[in-house]
């Protein structure tokens, strides 16, 4: 074990392991040393010189870059001496002259009191050759698609012969790590650049290879997407493993298959939302401003892709149309049954939209309004009182006119066709049995109804039991239902389990 070394930075003392860099020591002391080419996941490069500090001794001092200076003996360091600050200001001035449009340097100039550079900008650039993109591509990603070409002021980041790179895997690390936005993946490769969709946000935003699936995930820890993780694909990177403080990352983890003897099973496998692309007349999947009910949920959620602001492509819609019964009560698509939740969730969504977008015009096209539950009718009244228009009619199609949408429907109360223009259309997509319902049913030897939902033993008297003793149903696996009903059914299933298990225990004794 090596002896720790004392370092004093700006008057604060720390004891560090030998070979710790001055920058690392400063950060543990909470001292902010500016850097422009440093990244903890990459080898220190020492190119920007911004992290320069002054080591002071008796009658001497030395300027060194803190990012790569290893502490080996006791020393005293100043991170903002006059000499250091003068140099930093000149560096910022030089960089601002090179990259006048980079917000990074504009901010630094403001912070260090650097005015207009005394040097002419011949050709404004955003790249200041920090090398972060090149280094991440070589050191972590391993694709080595880009490099520094030329030398001196002619130096630039480029692909070989400035052609589209064959080696680039379109991982986006270069674009991600660039401090000024100088490099774009589309400059390097012509491979399609597709962000990985965050499933919980309905693909409305992307996610990385390591992500927490949703805020309330249990356990609330990140997972690695093996299909796209660089380590699993190419054996490179491993940055997450290096940086996880409790060393929790273990790439060798595999799925475990357990054999468990149980006395009861509760099937609560949920539902799939209806895919509105199956109703092409509504333009879902074709028009970006036609969205599903779940997508609206995510837009409206404070933890969603837009932090709760209703906007598409940065624009806030003023005219919104909600359409009931998409994929429900439908002889051709989806199911003939009523999905039960849509009338109320649409009313809720209309209310939210009205609340978040003052002055908005909101129309709901309905066939019926099934406000059956406790307080539901009152809520429906309130929503209409807020000025949201309910029109009876089933839209026949939705099409684009200019940059707006037009919802065409037969208003049955007016007795004529109406066309309502909208900036946003929300389709109240219904509830469907899961795609793998047949598989699960066969595995458990359970029956399903005509509509595909799992069959309860008796529709009135035994709503949570199945034909098989000890197997219970809970939630939308059995039929569409909302949250209060699901909870009630879950409790009922649990009660059924308790009864069954106590019977078995008594038998065993």
């Amino acid at each position: 074990m090596s002896e720790r070394v004392k370092i004093t930075i700006d008057g604060k003392e720390a004891w560090v392991e030998p070979e710790t860099t001055i920058l690392e020591a400063a950060r543990t002391l909470g001292i902010d040393v500016p850097t422009l080419c440093h990244n903890p996941a990459l080898e220190p490069y020492g190119a920007c010189r911004m992290c320069t500090v002054e080591i002071v001794g008796k009658g001497w001092s030395q300027l060194v870059t803190s990012c790569n200076y290893p502490i080996r003996r006791e020393m005293e360091v100043l991170t903002a001496s006059d000499r250091v600050v003068r140099g930093r200001r000149m560096l910022v001035e030089l960089l601002l002259a090179r990259c006048p449009d980079a917000p990074l340097f504009q901010e630094m100039a403001a912070r260090y009191g650097v005015g207009r550079p005394r040097f002419e900008t011949q050709q404004a650039d955003l790249c200041y050759l920090c090398g972060l993109c090149v280094r991440v591509c070589h050191e972590r990603v391993g694709a080595k698609a880009i490099s520094f070409v030329g030398r001196g002021v002619e130096r630039e980041v480029a692909t070989p012969f400035f052609k589209i790179s064959e080696a680039c895997i379109a991982c986006g690390a270069c674009e991600f790590i660039c401090p000024t936005g100088a490099i774009k993946v589309s400059d390097i490769t012509d491979k399609p650049i597709r962000p990985l969709p965050l499933e919980f946000d309905m693909g409305l935003r992307g996610r990385g290879n390591i992500y927490i699936p949703f805020p309330q995930a249990v356990p609330n820890v990140p997972v690695i997407d093996r299909a796209h993780c660089l380590y699993f694909q190419a054996g490179t990177c491993r940055t997450c493993e290096e940086f996880c403080p409790p060393h929790a990352i273990d790439y060798s983890q595999e799925d475990e298959f357990l054999d468990v003897d149980v006395g009861a099973v509760v099937v609560a496998t949920g539902f799939d939302p209806f895919d509105a692309r199956d109703k092409p007349e509504f333009g879902y999947g074709r028009y970006r401003t036609v969205i599903s009910g779940l997508e609206f949920e995510r837009l409206a959620s404070a933890s969603g892709p837009t932090q709760g602001k209703i906007k598409i492509d940065g624009k806030v819609p003023q005219d919104i149309v909600f359409v009931h019964c998409v994929g429900s009560r439908d002889k051709q698509q989806g199911g003939e049954y009523c999905s039960r939740i849509c009338c109320m969730y649409t009313a809720k969504q209309a209310h939210l939209a009205h609340d978040k977008i003052p002055g908005s015009n909101i129309t709901v096209f309905y066939m019926d309004v099934r406000a059956f539950g406790k307080g539901f009718e009152e809520f429906y009244d309130r929503v209409r009182a807020e000025g949201i228009t309910y029109r009876r009619g089933n839209p026949s199609e939705i099409y684009r006119r200019g940059d707006r949408l037009v919802v065409r429907a037969e208003d049955t109360l007016l007795g004529r066709t109406v066309e309502v223009e909208a900036d946003l259309v929300v389709l109240a997509t219904g509830v469907q049995p899961r795609a793998d319902a047949a598989e699960v049913a066969s595995m458990l030897s359970l029956e399903r109804g005509e509509d595909g939902f799992f069959q309860e033993l008796h529709p009135e008297l035994r709503p949570v039991d199945t034909k098989r003793r000890g197997i219970f149903l809970a939630g939308t696996v059995q039929s569409p239902k909302d949250i209060p009903d699901t909870v009630a059914q879950a409790k009922a299933a649990a009660a059924g389990v308790i009864v069954e298990l106590s019977k078995l225990r008594r038998k065993a004794e």
């Binding site: 020492g46 790569n68 560096l91 050759l129 001196g152 130096r155």
Partner: protein
């Protein structure tokens, strides 16, 4: 190439025996024509001279009795091609093919001296017959260069005959590695490449570093413009460098060495390559060197045309097959260098000093030089100097002596203005400081540095602002571009200087240059950036008035900066010979025969062709005078202060 076959040396006795045999064969009385065949004389066409001698001797049936020895560069480049007729030591300079028959007839056959080929003392005009009496050589102390005129660099036997490799055998058989390191330390030898780092200390660091794979490297990437000491040593006496490296490798425990030669020195590459092969076949390189059991080998590598690769960490990157990007040296390369292993990198001249230290002993070596700078240093004296060439002197000699006594002073009697030492990393030293001695610390104190030894002498026709601009343009080309201060700071300094030279300088530009200089010095990654400001800062320090003339008066006192000068023909001196009109690429000169000519300033591109050719010194350069003079007006002295520079 070595004439005989594989005479493997397996002991000091073998070497001594071989030396005796070779010396016997060399017939001290046998006539020998030692002709410099270094790169410089090659450019003079010396190959044709050598061929002519061979042909002439053949013709006269003397080919087997007279040796024609093509030697390395002895350093008197101004007077090349050089010939020393031995054994008399008669020294002929500026010989040409047409002189060959006469030399053979008169000097070789009849023993008579040809006066017109002798060197004439610049001060007395007296001819000097013998090489040893030529002041240029006599005033030097040629501890390293003495062999250059005595051997054929492609023949190891010549080197051995002159005592070569005796230091190596002495080291291998009578000294311990630690002892050798101590000797180098005590000798006070400091790196000759520019930084002047104590070599013994470096050797000790490498010797004591962890790891059993260590490297010794010879830095022959002599990039300073105007410096060619290393070229002469490596071309002219490659074995001296090799011997030093083998001794060093033995002392430090290295098995593998590299010589990194810049791409622009093809002859040096060839000659060190031949030397390595010859050493191998004589058992002086490779396994079991000279029967001592020590194994060491050397590989030759060429540079790719990058000045920055003279910097040690960049050189090592280049050896690894990477671009020559320097890296931080907070951890010395003696600890982690080539391939992260302990590496000792030394300059060519430094290595060449090692056999000397071993043979003479460190005490004798330390007798020469000053307290802080021991031994001799080779300088390349170039520029506005009578005797351009290589000058080797003990440390501590005054600049004045080098420039005026050995160098012969400034041609055409022009006044000395400044001498640039240390190349683009160094600074200029003005006339008032000519009594400075060549010593690492003395020169640093004066704001310059010893550098690798380039000494560029300037007269009143050199513009110091243009000089600073020239060096910055050089450095801008050579900057690797990695760090911000060097890449951006040098380019911007060059912009400011170019503005000043173009007559667009502003108040505050000098202060701006100084600010940029401070950032360069303190914040650059490597020595290229750190020292880039030296030429600017030293010229500002000693020649501030020139800067101010450019900025405030739009005037170039030396008559150099094109936008600030104009060419003018003095009608009083012009004879109308029309010699100037013909070479003018823009046909800007007009005038009838025998009548004064004039230059149309709107067409003149200031190429200087007329200035070069006028035999009557009638073409003048003026700066700062306005308006332009009309034909027939005055004779050069305008009402506004100007410098009429004569052709």
């Amino acid at each position: 190439m070595s004439a005989d076959a594989q005479t493997k040396i397996r002991s000091p006795e073998d070497l001594a025996q071989l030396r005796q045999e070779l010396q016997r064969l060399r017939h001290p009385e046998r006539p020998c024509l030692a002709i410099c065949a270094g790169t410089g004389c090659l450019a003079y066409g010396v190959n044709k001279v050598i061929d002519a001698f061979h042909a002439e001797l053949e013709l006269r049936g003397m080919a087997d009795r007279v040796e024609v020895l093509a030697t390395g560069c002895p350093g008197f480049c101004e007077r090349g091609p050089l010939l020393t007729v031995r054994p008399q030591g008669i020294f002929y300079q500026r010989i040409q093919v047409k002189d060959v028959p006469e030399i053979v007839e008169e000097t070789l056959i009849h023993g008579r001296v040809i006066d017109r080929l002798l060197y004439q003392d610049l001060r007395t005009g007296e001819p000097v017959v013998h090489e040893a009496d030529v002041p240029f050589y006599r005033l030097q102390r040629r501890d390293i260069l003495w062999m250059n005129g005595l051997l054929d660099p492609t023949r190891i036997d010549d080197y051995i005959a002159l005592g070569g490799y005796s230091a190596l055998l002495k080291a291998l058989y009578t000294m311990q590695p630690e002892e050798i390191v101590e000797a180098v330390k005590k000798s006070g030898l400091r790196g000759r490449g520019g930084a002047g780092f104590p070599s013994g200390r470096k050797w000790a660091e490498v010797r004591h570093a962890h790891g059993d794979l260590k490297y010794v490297i010879c830095n022959a990437d002599e990039g300073d413009p105007g410096a060619f000491m290393d070229r002469a040593v490596l071309e002219g006496n490659p074995h001296s460098v090799l011997e030093g490296m083998i001794i060093g490798a033995f002392a430090m425990g290295s098995r593998q060495g590299y010589v990194y030669v810049r791409n622009e020195y093809p002859m040096a590459v060839t000659n060190i390559g031949l030397a390595v092969e010859a050493a191998r076949s004589h058992g002086l390189l490779g396994e079991d060197i000279a029967g001592s059991g020590f194994a060491f080998d050397v590989a030759i590598r060429r540079g790719g045309g990058a000045f920055v690769c003279g910097e040690s960490s960049a050189l090592m990157q280049s050896l690894e097959g990477n671009v020559g990007e320097p890296r931080a040296k907070y951890v010395h390369t003696s600890e982690k260098g080539l391939w992260e292993r302990p590496s000792c990198l030394n300059n060519v001249e430094t290595w060449a000093n090692v056999p000397l230290i071993v043979n003479k002993g460190w005490e004798a070596f330390a007798q020469v030089g000053t307290e802080g700078s021991k031994g001799t240093k080779i300088f390349s004296l170039v520029g506005k100097i009578q005797n351009t060439g290589l000058v080797e002197v003990p440390m501590g000699v005054k600049l004045r002596e080098i420039i005026f006594d050995i160098g012969g002073g400034i041609p055409e009697g022009r006044p000395f203005k400044a001498v640039q030492t240390g190349g683009p990393s160094g600074g200029c030293i003005p006339e008032s400081m000519l009594d400075l001695t060549v010593d690492f610390d003395e020169l640093s104190k004066a704001g310059s540095m010893m550098g690798s030894g380039g000494m560029i002498v300037m007269d009143d026709r050199t513009c110091m602002v243009d000089l600073a601009r020239y060096f910055l343009a050089f450095l801008k080309e050579e900057s690797c571009g990695k760090c911000v201060p060097c890449r951006e700071g040098i380019a911007r300094s060059l912009e400011v200087l170019t503005r000043i030279c173009d007559g667009l300088g502003q108040e505050g530009d000098i202060a701006l240059l100084q600010e940029l200089g401070e950032t360069l010095q303190g914040f650059s990654l490597c020595a290229l950036g750190k020292s880039a400001a030296n030429p600017v800062l030293s010229t500002i320090r000693y020649f501030r008035d020139e800067y101010e003339a450019h900025i405030r008066d739009r005037r170039c006192p030396a008559g150099v900066c094109k936008p600030l000068i104009e060419y003018w023909i003095d009608p009083a001196l012009c004879t109308g010979c029309t010699a100037c009109a013909r070479p003018c690429p823009e046909h800007a000169i007009s005038g009838d025969k025998k009548m004064p000519h004039t230059i149309d300033l709107l067409l003149c591109i200031k190429c200087g062709a007329c200035y070069d050719i006028c035999k009557f010194n009638a073409v003048l350069i003026r700066s700062g005078e306005s308006p332009s003079p009309l034909p027939g007006e005055g004779s050069g002295e305008g009402s506004v202060p100007s410098l009429a520079v004569e052709a």
